[in-house]
Symmetry: C2
Subunit: 219 residues, 2 copies
C-alpha cells in the first residue's frame, strides 16, 4: 500500500533531514495533516524565505544585513577573532559572555566528503584585517604590534576534521604574518581542552584526561 502522493512527497522531504528516519518522517507528515492550513502556509513560507538570510561580509556569520550585529557592535573587541565551524557555534559561544568577534568557516576540512580549504571561508580569515574596514575591522595584521595586537582563537571541533582545519589555519596565518616586518602582532591560540563542567573524572575518556592534564593551570 502506498501513501497518497501529497503525503509521500512531504515524507520524502522530511526524510532528507538529518536524524529523521522513515518512521519519524511519517509521523511528522500525518501530524501536519491535522494542522490548520494557515500554519502550513507559515511553515512553507519560512522554508521558502530561509535563504533571505545574508552572510556577513566580515565574519561570514548568518545575519539579516551585510554586516552582522556582532561585527557592527562598537563595544566588541575587534582584535580578538574566534574561529568557529558553524553559526550554531556562535550561538553557543555568545551565551558564554565572549566579547570579541567571530569568523565562521561554515564547515571543516574533510577530504572524504570532498571539502577542501577552498570550500571554507579560510582565505577570508587570512585576508581579514589586511584591508582595514572603517568601523568594522580596523586592525592590520602584523602592522603595528603595540596598538594592533590581533589574537585569533581557533575553536574548531575537537575531532579529526576540526583538528586538521585548525592546523591548516595556523599554518596559513603564520605564513601570512611572516610577510610583514614582524609577525609578533599576531597571536594564534586554541580554545582550552579539558574536563567539561559537571563531568566525572571516573568516566572521562583517556584523550580528554590527557588534554586536561596538559592544559592544567596554576591556582
Amino acid at each position: 500500500m502506498k501513501l497518497p502522493k501529497p503525503l509521500q512527497n512531504l515524507k520524502d522531504s522530511f526524510e532528507k533531514l538529518p536524524g529523521i528516519g522513515p518512521k519519524t518522517a511519517e509521523r511528522l507528515t500525518f501530524y501536519l495533516l491535522r494542522v490548520p492550513q494557515s500554519d502550513l502556509d507559515l511553515f512553507a513560507s519560512s522554508i521558502n524565505n530561509l535563504k533571505q538570510t545574508k552572510i556577513c561580509s566580515i565574519c561570514k556569520n548568518v545575519g539579516e544585513s551585510d554586516i552582522c550585529d556582532v561585527c557592527s557592535d562598537q563595544t566588541r573587541d575587534k582584535n580578538t577573532i574566534l574561529v568557529v565551524q558553524s553559526p550554531l557555534d556562535v550561538l553557543a559561544l555568545e551565551k558564554s559572555g565572549y566579547k570579541g568577534v567571530y569568523h565562521v568557516l561554515h564547515g571543516a576540512i574533510n577530504p572524504i566528503a570532498g571539502i577542501g580549504p577552498e570550500e571554507l571561508f579560510i582565505e577570508d580569515l587570512v585576508q581579514r584585517g589586511r584591508t582595514p574596514k572603517t568601523g568594522a575591522s580596523d586592525h592590520v595584521l602584523g602592522s603595528d604590534p603595540k596598538t594592533h595586537d590581533l589574537e585569533v582563537i581557533i575553536a574548531t571541533n575537537p575531532d579529526l576534521e576540526g583538528e586538521a582545519t585548525a592546523m591548516y589555519i595556523t599554518e596559513k596565518l603564520k605564513i601570512q604574518s611572516s610577510k610583514f616586518k614582524d609577525g609578533e602582532g599576531l597571536k594564534i591560540t586554541r580554545i582550552g581542552r579539558g574536563l567539561p563542567t559537571g563531568a566525572d573524572i571516573e568516566y572521562a575518556d583517556e584523550t580528554t584526561l590527557k588534554r586536561a592534564l596538559e592544559g592544567r593551570t596554576a591556582t
Copy 2:
C-alpha cells in the same frame, strides 16, 4: 543574541512539530540553510500541497480520491470493517495481509484533551452500511444475517483512550443493530491481545500476560 528573522521563523515552525525540541529545530534550520533553493522549494510546496489529500467518503482514510484504493478494490471483503485510530495504523495493518476494509476514527476519545465522540468519525461508522453504496459498501446493517453478516473488528490502541473509545463504539453499534429485526447480523470483535512476536515472557508486564492468558487459543 538572536537568530536572524528567517532562521528564527523556520526554527519556530520546526519546534511546533511533535518530538522536536529547540536544539533539534536549530540543527534542522541550519541544515536547510546549506541545501539548494530548489530543494527548499520542493519542501515548501509539499507542505503547501499536503491538504490536497482527500478523506475517503466511506472509510475516512486519507487518499487521493473521494473513495480510497481500499474501498474501491472489489477483491476486498466489504463485510469486515477494521476500526483504527489513525491512517498510520492502516499502513501497519496493510503489511499484515489483512483483506477486509477499514474505518479510520482519526483519534480516540480523550476528555482531558477535549476530544469527544463527535470529534471522531464514530457516527459515520455507526451509519456505515445503513445507506448501501453501489460498488463500495453493499451491506445493510442487520438487514439479512445470512447474506450480510458484518464483522466490525475494533483495533484502537490498547491504552486508556483506546479502550474507552472501543467501549463507546461497541455500545453505539449494539444500539444501532438492535433497532433491526435481529441484531445477529452484526458481530463486534476486538483485535487480539497477548505477547508480541519476539517478546520474552520473563520481561512481559502483568497486564500483557493477563490478557495473553485470557486470549489463549487451542492448538
